[in-house]
């Protein structure tokens, strides 16, 4: 077990290093950092001095090590566009994106898992066929169109919910949260639905496939032959076995949540990291792009480590070595 987790930890460090390298290459080779930081009027000597100060003349490996070291220290450099420290810019955007992603993920799991179980247990029912058809349409509608539709119906036609921004937020220890005001929640509903629907269809289809697989397994047939009560069989035997692969995929889905939050944030003008990233792409603001990458990869790796832990908790085969 310890070995399994250490192995995953080492792999995670490897992924982080690779992403850091990507961010570094972006910074170093896409456009010239010096000309981005200076104006036309800067003299050649000044440019050369800046180049020397930034250490751009140092050997490649040395530069990369320093870049990574700076990242670890939390020194993320300055934005080309706003001249602000990138760390501050990103940090102020993290709460919005995380809260949005969290609520979307909750929608996806709380609706997706029961729906998946239901459609697996009644594969031929009318409700199942309808749900399956709906999910198929669900994965086929681009996230931004879902957003537009929700805005159109609930915002424009019915006028029930706000269609842009976060509404009222409260600062708790520097963390701007929407969870504590009614206005905040109202603003959160449409974006979270937009982001959640796509993930929901994925979760449901996955749970269904795995559950149907498990229901065919020998141990379920054996449990049926022993007369284990149906409810216990579905939820204790089948669902727990379904969870092992499902959890893995949910870890991967988190990446999707973050990615699609870019789209959702753009549609709803939600002031999160995704919107910042979009702006930075439009203005070729390389430092912000690079740091965004690193932050996203960090969250991804973190979530997947948690998934591995859960994995170990659920599956005794990973916890306890076997007889041989």
């Amino acid at each position: 077990m310890v070995f399994f987790l250490t192995k995953r930890l080492i792999q995670s460090v490897f992924v982080m290093l690779a992403v850091a390298f990507l961010a570094f290459s972006l910074f170093r080779y896409v456009g010239d950092p010096v000309s981005q930081m200076t104006g036309v009027e800067t003299s050649v000597e000044d440019r050369e001095r800046l180049r020397e100060d930034l250490g751009l003349n140092d050997p490649f490996v040395y530069q990369f090590v320093r870049f990574t070291g700076d990242l670890l220290k939390g020194d993320f450099g300055y934005s080309y566009r706003t001249r602000q420290p990138v760390a501050e810019m990103i940090a102020s955007r993290i709460p919005a994106t995380l809260e949005l992603g969290l609520v979307a993920l909750m929608i996806s799991l709380l609706v997706g898992i029961p729906a998946g179980v239901y459609t697996a247990l009644r594969p031929r029912g009318f409700a199942t066929q309808t749900i399956l058809m709906l999910t198929l349409v669900g994965v086929s509608i681009p996230t931004f169109v879902i957003g537009i539709m929700l805005i159109f119906f609930f915002g424009v036609q019915l006028g029930w919910l706000p269609t842009f921004g976060r509404g009222g937020t409260v600062s708790v220890g520097g963390w701007e949260t929407s969870f504590l005001t009614i206005d905040g929640w109202r603003s959160l509903i449409l974006p979270a639905l937009t982001l959640g629907v796509y993930q929901l269809t994925l979760t449901m289809r996955l749970v269904r496939a795995e559950m149907m697989d498990v229901m065919q397994s020998d141990y379920i047939r054996f449990a049926t032959a022993r007369g284990v009560p149906m409810g216990r069989m579905y939820f204790r035997h089948a669902l727990s076995n379904t969870m092992v692969p499902v959890i893995t995929i949910i870890g991967l889905q988190f990446g999707g949540v973050i990615a699609f939050s870019i789209v959702t944030e753009s549609v709803f003008q939600w002031p999160g990291m995704g919107l910042l990233f979009l702006e930075s792409i439009r203005f070729v603001d390389i430092p912000v792009m690079g740091v965004y990458l690193v932050v996203i990869a960090f969250f991804f790796v973190l979530v997947n480590l948690i998934v591995d832990l859960l994995y170990v908790l659920i599956d005794p085969r990973l916890r306890i070595s076997d007889v041989s």
Partner: protein, 301 residues
Amino acid sequence: MLDFIKRHEGLWLFTHSPSVMIAAIVALAILIGAVFAPWIAPVDPYDLSSFSLMDGLLPPVWEEFGTSKFPLGTDDQGRDMISSILYGARLSLIIGVCAMAIASILGVGLGLAAGYIGGRFDAVVMRIADIQLALPAILTALLIDGIARGILPPELRQDMRVVVLTLAIALSLWVNFARTARASTFVQMNKEYVQAAMMQGQHPLRIMFVHILPNILGPLLVIMTVDLASAILLEATLSFLGIGLPADSPSLGTLIRIGMQFLLSGEWWILWIPTLFLIALVVSINVLGDFLRDVFNPRLR
């Protein structure tokens, strides 16, 4: 004929599921419309002289003020919506198909080789795939687009848009193919016909492409369909975000972005008709993909 259909699982299922047949017809119709757009479309939307502002904002024919000259209405520039949509679908499909083709060649090649060779090579390919997974498709595509903006000289940027967009989408989709190909190859590697070929001393390339590849085509075909849908969605999304194709050569996504400006003003057709078209296209591709999955994976039925 009937007997033939009965004997072929896939054909039989096809003729017995109306939704799949409808999807096939819709997909085929859109495909034909897109391929032959230059001959079918009433006007060329890229040609500024072929439309005039005088015809701007006309509604579809069944609405008040609609004319049969523009059955689905016009946009604010006076462009015929049908022509814009057909040309847009053409561009969306070209980018989608090319991206999917590049991604599948790259992904299947790497996945097949990783599964066959195993060891270090496999480990390296899979670690790269891991990193790619940490950066989801939209992000990768946006990133490549951003890099292209930084690297390409401004005068090339417009000309290279389609190429950059296609590459960006392809590079964000190859992992799916690689992982599926690798997993299926592993299954085949344990089959005795592969061992037979190996011990006979057949060339590794022959074993990979003549023996293994035909046996893993089923799951790959499913991924191809699903990823074609993803590619089209991704292109639409990128264009919607204003990072894909510009307004003078609009894809479906660009059309929707333009239509967004009319969300509140009553000219609903400029937004919703291209949107419906995009959804119909992607839904029918996904229905077909789902059908293929059922055919190749009967236990899920």
